[in-house]
């Protein structure tokens, strides 16, 4: 289309090239989204004709303590995972930069391997890690440090931590890779000039490095937040679709699953699923509207 010249001409070649993307977008995003919205406004009838119930399912969530527990758990899980992953990834990226060049590549790949595994497979492996007193975490970390074994999948004080550990294991490597690339992309002359001017390491990190890698950090942050809110496969394998003892690990998508597939209420489940949107949007709003100059990398 050539709008700039005031002409409306469709370039069919471009339309044809873009068509598969839009077809897939409609098929796997638009249609399921609208179907889900339709479901959320219908009664929970599993068999037979459903009827329109308006906002009944959404209003019922307002007074549902389990729903609010799921919201709280999901926010807590997200904050903990993001803090752990980004903090550790930044450290790991710096450490990798100091590595001998020949092993940096294989080490970086090794870090990324967990992120390449399907989440279900990873969760099955983590059953061995969390498996009671014989589990790897208890055998290699908890007991050697002199603590009592922890039942990671039953003790309500540790259930959410188990989900955080699993998510952190999965994504730390990938985020390390992104941050490593961002660190490598810093202009050398800026860093050299700062060093010559006597800026110490901490000041270089906070005043120069962080602002320069801010766009990558923002990408990692948004990626992790969205993934945490969408977390299901891992907790399903670990907890069988529940939230564990007293809903200690109940997440929003797990609750949507329970509503739909345990309670037989697809309408209620759809409402829980769609209710995630404002929560996620809120978190992303807080992230994106933090000091804008920082995210634009203008702080240096």
């Amino acid at each position: 289309m050539d709008l700039a010249k005031g002409k409306f001409r469709v370039s069919w070649g471009r339309v044809l090239l873009a068509a598969p993307f839009f077809a897939l977008l409609v098929m796997f995003w638009a249609i399921p989204l609208f179907q889900g919205m339709r479901l959320s406004f219908e009664s929970d009838t599993l068999w037979g004709d459903s009827h329109f119930v308006g906002f009944k399912h959404y209003l019922s969530l307002w007074g549902d303590p389990r729903y609010w527990r799921a919201v709280w758990n999901t926010v807590l899980f997200t904050v903990a995972t993001v803090a752990f992953v980004l903090g550790f990834a930044l450290l790991a990226a710096h450490a990798l930069r100091l590595c001998w060049g020949r092993i940096r590549g294989p080490l970086t790949f090794a870090f990324m391997v967990p992120g390449l595994c399907p989440p279900t497979v990873l969760a099955l492996l983590f059953l061995l890690v969390f498996h009671g007193k014989e589990g790897l975490l208890n055998q290699w970390v908890v007991q050697p440090l002199g603590f009592e074994t922890i039942n990671w999948l039953s003790d309500p004080d540790y259930i959410l931590s188990a989900v955080v550990v699993q998510a952190a294991w999965r994504w730390t490597g990938f985020m390390t890779f992104f941050l490593l690339c961002a660190l490598n992309a810093r202009p050398r002359d800026v860093l050299d000039a700062a060093e010559i001017d006597g800026v110490n390491a901490w000041q270089r990190f906070t005043k120069i490095t962080l602002p320069l890698i801010a766009p990558t950090l923002l990408f990692c942050l948004i990626y992790l937040v969205v993934d945490c809110f969408a977390q299901f496969a891992g907790s399903y394998v670990l907890f069988g679709g529940s939230g564990g003892t007293n809903d200690a690990g109940l997440l929003l998508v797990s609750y949507a699953y329970q509503k739909a597939f345990v309670g037989g209420g697809f309408g209620s489940g759809a409402a829980v699923s769609l209710s995630i949107v404002p929560w996620l949007a809120g978190m992303l709003f807080l992230i994106a509207f933090a000091p804008r100059a920082f995210w634009k990398g203008g702080g240096a």
Binding site: W47, T245, G263
Partner: protein, 424 residues
């Protein structure tokens, strides 16, 4: 022209009985049995009978079924559905399953199937499914460990005996009983209590429920009972860990648990298992004992109302339920003990079993069958079982409130919206 030809071919294939009956089964192990039953049916009844038997995971199959019913796409004809999931499909005025009441009466199955089990798959006076198993709960014990600690089954007449002897075992660093959240319902039922009453009320015997949950908590805290690492005895990891390491000496389980799970996941312990009735609950005031069995779960066969081969499906289901060989093979192939009373006289079901140390599981089950408690089926039963499994017992163990407050919360959640919503 081509469309007409295709339509004619479709009708012709139906007339020839070529359209297969789609059967959904809840486990690979059961699929083997039903594949065999299809062959047996073809041999003895209808050589033209065609069936497509598909196995899905125990938890995955109900999910897939719910989606199939909701979308009316790729629906099965016959489904093997566990009673703990059955209630989910009872919401609303109508259900997706064929009313089998008249067919059951005509086949005299209302007389020949144990009434407690037939009621389990009934709702509002209609028979909607047929039970595959007796699901009588017994105590499986380790003969070798009993010998090691100089114990005999006759010492465990009551649950007080379990606690008393168990305490002595704990002093020797040995736990007696594996624990599982399902024991709450099992033991409550053994004592005459219920999760739901006939009117849908939750925990109508509330004080009995509190006492039962407190007992289980006591078993856990005293370490007479040991909760498996993954908090369930239904996980293969339980057999590779707690069982293989001799950490427990006994497991409460139904007939299908011993036949299917114990035989499948601890084959190396063949001959080391024994079977006895459950310890009884003794009423100190009246000096009477409860029944020595209970019930939990168990599969049933239901027919989808939208099936195009309802008659063919029913004939196959009726065959599986009534055929002497089908009932015997269900037991002999390690599936479950049938709920079909005429099968109780089949000597093959009463033989001593080498795997269970030459105890006759069949004999014990037949003796316990009349005492199997009734379960009032309720649409909220799946959610109740789910909530019990996922938090009730472990909550007590981790100090998340006492039994009374936990059960009060459980009751409130279930009554306020833990299950299928009210009809609008």
């Amino acid at each position: 022209m081509a469309a007409s030809l295709l339509a004619m071919l479709a009708c012709l294939s139906r007339l020839l009985g070529a359209e297969p009956v789609n059967i959904w089964i809840s486990s690979q192990q059961d699929k083997i049995y039903y594949d065999n039953m299809v062959r047996l049916y073809q041999k003895e009844v209808d050589p033209n009978f065609a069936a497509n038997v598909q196995a899905f995971g125990f938890r995955e199959m109900p999910d897939k079924l719910a989606i199939a019913f909701k979308t009316q796409t790729n629906t099965p004809d016959i489904v093997q559905l566990d009673e703990v999931f059955f209630g989910m499909y009872l919401q609303g005025a109508d259900t997706p399953f064929v009313d089998l009441t008249d067919r059951v009466k005509k086949a005299k199955l209302d007389v020949d199937i144990l009434p407690q089990r037939l009621e389990l798959f009934s709702h509002r006076g209609k028979v909607l499914g047929l039970p595959q198993s007796l699901s009588a709960v017994v105590l499986y014990y380790r003969r070798d460990l009993f010998e090691q600690f100089s114990l005999s089954p006759s010492q465990f007449q009551t649950w007080d005996d379990v606690m008393r002897i168990g305490a002595d075992l704990v002093a020797e660093n040995q736990s007696f009983l594996a624990l599982d959240p399902s024991y709450f319902g099992i033991l409550l039922r053994q004592r005459g209590g219920h999760l739901f009453d006939e009117d849908g009320g939750v925990l109508p015997d509330f004080d009995l429920a509190v006492d039962t949950l407190e007992f289980l908590g006591e078993l856990a805290q005293s370490q007479v009972g040991l909760m498996p690492d993954r908090s369930t005895i239904f996980d293969p990891v339980f057999f590779g860990g707690d069982v293989a390491n001799n950490e427990i000496m006994a497991i409460v389980g139904a007939d299908w648990y011993g036949l299917d799970m114990i035989q499948q996941f601890s084959p190396e312990l063949e001959g080391e298992w024994g079977i006895m009735p459950l310890p009884a609950w003794r009423d100190e005031e009246t000096k009477t004992d409860s029944v020595r069995t209970s019930t939990f779960a168990g599969q049933g066969l239901v027919i989808y109302k939208g099936s195009e081969v309802i008659d063919e499906s029913w004939e196959f289901v009726e065959f599986v339920m009534t055929n002497r060989e089908a009932n015997a093979q269900r037991f002999l192939q390690g599936n479950s003990f049938p709920a079909f009373k005429p099968a109780f006289e089949d000597l093959r079901l009463l033989q001593p079993q080498p795997f269970f140390g030459y105890d006759s599981m069949g004999q014990i089950l037949v003796e316990l069958a009349p005492d199997i408690p009734r379960i009032a089926m309720n649409p909220k039963r799946p959610m109740a079982v789910f909530m019990i499994r996922e938090g009730l017992l472990s909550g007590i163990m981790y100090g998340e409130g006492d039994a009374r407050s936990s059960l009060t919360r459980f009751k409130e959640q279930l009554e306020s919206g833990g299950g299928p919503p009210d009809e609008d």
